[in-house]
C-alpha cells in the first residue's frame, strides 16, 4: 500500500460506516464516528442523506463537524430544527431508516450494553447509559453498531441490556411489543463488517476488513459467529475518502 494511502483504525471504521449509508434515507447520528461517516457519505455516494440528531437537528449541511448531538452544527442550514420528541416520534412513525449505535458490549443478537459492568446498583464500571440508544434501537428500522472488535466487547452475555437488538432471537422483539420488521442490521468493526442471519437473527460475518482473517475475528469474539456463504473483503479506504476525511471533514483531526 502506498504511503499516502496509509490509514488508521478510526479512518477505516469511518469509511466502512459511511458506506452503509443510503442516499435519500434518514439516519440517526450520534457523536463521533457516525458524524464523520455521515459527513463522508454526503460527500460521496449519498448527497441526499439526511442526518438526524436526536435533540432536534435534521438534515444539516455538515460543513463543520458537530461536537455534540445538540450543538448548532446539527442544524446548520438544515430544513428542520425541532425537538427530541419531534424526531423520536418521527422514528416511531417509521420515518427513520437507520440509526447508529455504539456500546461497551454487544451479544450475538446485537443487543448492546452502554450502562454498567457488574451489578447495576453498585457497578464495577458505570457507563453513560442509554441516552437515545434504546429509542433508536426500538424505533428505527435498521441499526448499525460501530465498535472496536474484542472479546471483552463481543460477549456471550451482556452485563446489562441497554438497547434491544434481536433480544433472545427470532420473534422476541415482537413478543416484547416492539414494532415488527425492525432490528439490528450491521456491525462495523476494525476487523469485519457483520450482519445477521435472517432465520436465527444471529450475528454473521459478511466482510473482512483489509488484512483481517476469519480466525482473527473469531479470536476477538466471545460467542460463536456465523459466516456468510459469500464472505467478501471490504475494500480499504480509497484515496478520495481519506482526502475528504482529512482535508474537508476533520481537518483539525478532532476525531481521527
Amino acid at each position: 500500500m502506498a504511503a499516502k494511502e496509509a490509514y488508521n483504525k478510526s479512518e477505516m471504521l469511518i469509511c466502512s460506516a459511511a458506506r452503509q449509508m443510503e442516499d435519500g434515507a434518514i439516519c440517526f447520528i450520534g457523536t463521533g464516528i457516525p458524524m464523520l461517516a455521515a459527513a463522508l457519505a454526503k460527500r460521496t455516494h449519498a448527497p441526499r442523506l439526511v442526518a438526524a440528531f436526536e435533540f432536534g437537528g435534521m438534515g444539516p449541511d455538515l460543513e463543520r463537524l458537530p461536537v455534540a448531538v445538540g450543538d448548532s452544527r446539527t442544524f446548520h442550514r438544515a430544513p428542520v430544527a425541532g425537538s427530541i420528541c419531534d424526531l423520536m416520534e418521527a422514528a416511531a412513525r417509521g420515518m427513520v431508516e437507520y440509526g447508529f449505535l455504539g456500546g461497551a458490549q454487544i451479544d450475538m443478537f446485537g443487543n448492546l450494553n452502554a450502562t454498567v459492568i457488574g451489578d447495576h446498583d453498585k457497578p464495577k464500571v458505570r457507563f453513560p447509559g442509554s441516552g437515545g440508544a434504546n429509542d433508536i434501537g426500538s424505533l428505527c428500522w435498521r441499526t448499525i453498531a460501530v465498535m472496536r472488535h474484542g472479546k471483552q466487547r463481543f460477549v456471550p452475555r451482556l452485563d446489562f441490556l441497554t438497547t434491544a437488538g434481536y433480544l433472545t432471537g427470532p420473534g422476541a422483539r415482537e413478543r416484547a411489543g416492539l414494532a415488527p420488521g425492525a432490528g439490528p442490521f450491521r456491525v462495523v468493526t476494525d476487523l469485519a463488517i457483520l450482519g445477521y442471519e435472517p432465520a436465527s437473527c444471529r450475528m454473521q460475518v459478511l466482510k473482512l476488513q483489509p488484512g483481517a482473517t476469519l480466525e482473527a475475528v473469531r479470536a476477538e469474539t466471545g460467542f460463536e459467529l456465523l459466516v456468510a456463504a459469500d464472505l467478501a473483503d471490504n475494500p480499504p479506504p480509497t484515496a478520495e475518502e481519506l482526502r475528504l476525511l482529512r482535508e474537508e471533514i476533520d481537518p483539525e483531526h478532532l476525531y481521527t
Binding site: G32, G56, P123, A164, G177
Partner: protein
Amino acid sequence: MAELKSGRGPLIRMLPPDEVRAWMRANKPKGQVSKLMTEREAIAKFVRPEQYVGVELYGGVRCPMSLVRELVRQRIGPLDLAGQGVLENDMLIAAGLVRRLDITYHGYEVYGTSPILRRACESGKVQTVEWSNAALAWRFKAAAMGLPFLPVRSMLGTGTFDYSGAKEILCPFTGVKLCAIPALHLDVGLIHVHRADEFGNCQIDGITGFAAEMARASKRLIVSAEEIVPHLEIQKAPDRTLIPYFIVDAVVHAPGGSLPGEMPYLYWRDDAHIKAYMEAVQTEEGAQRYLQEWVHGTRDHTDFVKKLGGEKRLAELRAEATTR
C-alpha cells in the same frame, strides 16, 4: 394481564396529576407580572433540599450553567435529578448535592464517560434509575399534557426497562404491548433561553430539545435569558413564544449564561475551558479544586464571565458561533 411486567424502579418522583393541578391553580400567577430577579434571588427563593430538579438542554448546549453554578454556590441539597445534562448534572454531583438520579445519559459524548458519575455510582453514593432519552422527554410530555402517564414504544424488552419505573400495558384498541411511563413533574426546572420579557415569555432559537415539555412539567420554573426584551417584541411574534409567561416563576438576565457551553447563533462553546474541566475532574481532588476556583471562587455569573476572560473571550466565542 398477569404476564405484564413492571420495571423494578423505584419511582423517584411520581406526583398524582390532580395534586399538581390543585398546586398549579393555587401557586402560579396567571396574570402578567414581572418576575425579574437575580440568579441568587431565584435560586434562594425556589430551590430547597430534598427537591427534584431538572435542567435542559444537553451536551453543553444552551445550558443553564449560571443557574447551576449559583445552586452549587448556595450548596442546596440533597437533590434528586432528572438525568440529562453533561456539565450541569456533573457539577451538581461533583458538589455532593445529588442523592438520586433518573439517568438517561450522563457522559462527555466524544470525550467518553464522566469520572464524576463513575465515582458517584461505583461508590454507591448516588442511586440511578434507568430511562431512555426519549422516555425521559416523554415523561415530561405526560406531565405537560396533564396526564399521569403516556404509552410509548421504547424500552420494551431491555434491562433499561427492567431497571426503570415503567410498566407494560396492553393497548385497549389493538392489544399490542406498550411501555407505560409515568409523568415526571419537577419541583424546579432550570432553562436557559435566547430571550425573555420580564413576565417570562420566552423565545428559543434553533432546536428546542425538551424545553417545551420540561417547562410545562415544572412546578417552579427558573428561566435565564441572554437578553431581556420589551414585552412588545414578544407581542409582535406570539407564535415564537415557546415558554409562556404563566409557567415561569423567575426570569434572570444572564448574558453568556450557557458558558462554558454553547448558545446557538450567539457564541460557540469554550472548548479550552471544557477540556480543562474534564482534565480537572479526573480526580476527586481536581473536581473540588475546580468548583472552589470557578464556582465558589466567583461571586456571581458576571464575575464568572469576567474570570473566563470577560468581553474579550466572549468576542472570540461569538466569532466562532454558527451562522444562520
